[in-house]
């Protein structure tokens, strides 16, 4: 009963969030100074067209229709399960997103796991002993990468590993000129290493710094003092008290970081010409491809929301204080 109510609340919150996000994107798009016709058709081409043709194009790109009417039209279709046709790709939005989503998710899952595990590991190494050598090295590294934008790291990686060393491909998700069904898993991974690395690097430092901070606080807490006073070894303290007490915040942070990874992916995909959602979003935004941009927005918001909800659920499941609290309340 409690749970059903909670799930209902979450769904409601998600619906409200999506509504708000889509409206915002629509408003921003309608305020955008970009003229879809000039951008996508070209000034010269437009000049050589007949008035009738231009009218047809205007209708196609939705120029002249009030934003509110367009939004309602889009929303009505969307609620019926129709995400519309991408104006740029001339294919159903669902299809475009489907492909792109697969590429992106593949990339982001790796980056997410990498930043999670590496960050957690480095954070533990550093936080075990505040001020120790490991701590200074890790913190130094983290502060350096945390203050560096993901796209810049992406370009540096690209220069070193793709341009100079030629170990890894410069971009794209698959080798150029290969049919889709000939692309193997190896190719995909090969093309994904650099973008995933670039995407995870800044994530690693934020997870590591948080984990370090939490673990250092735990290692200086009264209950760790008492564990020491009871003759527990440092190792056992770390395993029995340390990890358990930092696992929760780390997990929450990790799920909440989904949004950061999404944000970072937009730039990183751009740098690596990686055909993912982020890149499509940039293309759609610049080209006023309203249906595509709206579709991407909805999907992205839903995934990020899902990440945060997963964090909440996990927290409730694992932390006895929350668990018992909810049962009581």
């Amino acid at each position: 009963m409690e749970n059903a109510k909670w799930i209902g609340m979450q769904l409601l919150r998600m619906a409200v969030l999506l509504a708000a996000v889509t409206v915002t994107v629509f408003v921003l798009l309608s305020l955008s100074p970009i003229d879809p016709l000039t951008t996508n058709v070209g000034q010269t081409a437009l000049g050589s067209m007949s008035g009738e043709q231009v009218e047809r194009l205007k209708e196609y790109w939705g120029v002249g229709t009030p934003a509110a009417a367009r939004f309602l039209g889009w929303a009505r279709d969307f609620l019926r399960g129709d995400m519309g046709i991408s104006l740029l790709y001339r294919r159903p939005v669902a299809q475009v997103i489907g492909e792109r989503f697969f590429n992106s998710v593949w990339l982001m899952i790796w980056a997410w796991l990498l930043s999670g595990f590496m960050g957690f590991g480095l954070g533990i190494l550093a936080g075990r002993k505040r001020g120790g050598t490991a701590d200074r090295l890790v913190t130094g590294y983290c502060l350096l990468t945390a203050s560096t934008p993901a796209f810049w790291i992406a370009m540096v990686l690209l220069m070193i590993f793709a341009v100079w060393l030629k170990w890894l491909p410069i971009g794209l998700a698959v080798p150029i000129g290969t049919a889709a069904d000939e692309v193997g898993l190896g190719d995909r991974i090969y093309h994904m290493i650099l973008p995933a690395l670039a995407l995870s690097l800044t994530g690693i430092s934020s997870v590591a710094l948080h984990t370090r901070e939490k673990l250092a606080a735990v290692m200086e807490s009264d209950y760790v003092l008492f564990a020491r006073a009871r003759g527990e070894s440092e190792r056992s303290i770390l395993v029995r008290h340390g990890l358990k007490n930092i696992a929760l915040p780390a997990m929450t942070l990790q799920f909440a970081s989904v949004s950061e990874i999404f944000g970072g992916s937009v730039l990183v995909e751009q740098v690596f010409s990686y055909p993912g959602l982020g890149q499509a979003a940039v293309t759609a935004g610049l080209g006023s491809d309203v249906p595509l941009l709206m579709g991407i927005t909805v999907i992205t918001a839903a995934v990020v929301f899902g990440g945060n909800t997963a964090a909440n659920i996990l927290y409730g499941l694992i932390d006895p204080r929350m668990r018992k609290g909810r049962k009581k309340g």
């Binding site: 505040r130 001020g131 200086e220 807490s221 009264d222 209950y223 003092l225 008492f226 564990a227 020491r228 006073a229 009871r230 003759g231 527990e232 056992s236 029995r240 008290h241 358990k244 007490n245 929760l248 932390d319 006895p320 204080r321 018992k324």
Partner: protein, 310 residues
């Protein structure tokens, strides 16, 4: 004198802190402190909040915070208690009853913490028995610290010590939150331990309680031990020698509840010489200099005044 179970001599604890503008300040929170505990003896350390009682306990256990440095000598069974020896002894011969619920892992069940990771029938039974002896049923074992009341927490903390077979127990405020009946039982348990040959260092700010059970009393004021005497000395004011000890005596309910004006100075505003000087009715210029320890018929006192002098 050799053969004390625990002998703390000339213990000083200093905290290093950074203030605004990265100015380094040293806080001498304990200065030149001495305490001894013999086998079969219960010694009470009394002092008001902030006088350094917990730090004394932590120094003996070797769990001072990283920004604290300790000087002086701590001996256990006649030998210097080095870090290595502390590590080998604590949790076994040397146990601490900590002061508050924050010393329990918030995410670990009570039973697990009392057993301290040890598995098997033997430990499960021991855990059940010890908790039971403090009126905590088996259901307590599966609770988390946040589900315990203050009194239950206290009893769980004490149980962790009773689970072991200690030679020296350092109990940091083991009784607040317990009703008088339970407090008596707890002290009774400590008494039984001393009868079996263990030593107990009882840290408390409750003078009445200390006098009821302890053999000797050490009075701490703002990080300095001002007097050591036996519990019976508190029967009359004349057998107490330090003005602060006398003030404590007069503050006891049965002796008129009179409290002295002023309060214990914070370490940063500590006067030179005797820390009690600003509040002392008998203070003179010589109290500002170094105050040596003077033997008395019952222990020692750190005061330049001889008895009878005013």
């Amino acid at each position: 004198m050799d053969g004390h179970l625990l002998e703390v001599k000339g213990l000083s604890i200093t905290f290093t802190q950074y203030e605004r503008g990265l100015r380094r300040v040293s806080l001498p929170v304990i200065r030149d402190l001495g305490v001894t505990v013999d086998r079969g003896e219960m010694v009470a350390v009394i002092g008001s909040s902030g006088s350094g009682k917990s730090l004394l306990a932590h120094a003996v256990m070797g769990i001072l915070p990283y920004n604290a440095s300790a000087e002086g000598e701590i001996r256990y069974q006649g030998e210097i208690l080095t870090e290595k020896r502390k590590k080998a002894l604590r949790g076994r011969e040397l146990v601490l009853v900590p002061q508050s619920v924050s010393y329990l892992d918030p995410l670990m069940r009570v039973g697990e913490q009392v057993k301290n990771g040890r598995k098997g029938r033997k430990w499960e039974e021991a855990c059940r028995r010890v908790l039971g002896s403090y009126g905590l049923g088996p259901e307590t074992e599966s609770l988390y610290p946040f589900q315990l009341s203050g009194g239950m927490t206290r009893r769980v903390l004490i149980s962790t010590a009773v689970m072991e077979n200690p030679r020296l127990v350092i109990a940091d405020e083991p009784t607040p939150g317990l009703h008088p009946e339970a407090a008596k039982r707890v002290l009774g348990h400590f008494r039984e331990m001393t009868e079996a040959g263990a030593g107990v260092l009882l840290i408390t700010h409750d003078l009445n309680l200390a006098l009821q059970t302890a053999d000797r009393v050490v009075v701490l004021y703002a990080g300095t031990a001002v007097e050591e005497t036996d519990s019976r000395a508190f029967c009359r004011e004349e057998t107490l020698y330090h003005p602060y000890t006398r003030a404590l005596y007069r503050a006891m309910p049965e002796h008129g509840f009179k409290s002295e004006p002023g309060s214990q100075p914070y370490v940063k505003e500590l006067p030179s010489g005797c820390p009690y000087r600003p509040r002392c009715a008998m203070a003179g210029p010589e109290c500002a200099g170094p105050v040596p320890l003077r033997k008395t018929d019952r222990g020692w006192v750190r005061c330049v005044r001889k008895e009878g002098e005013a």
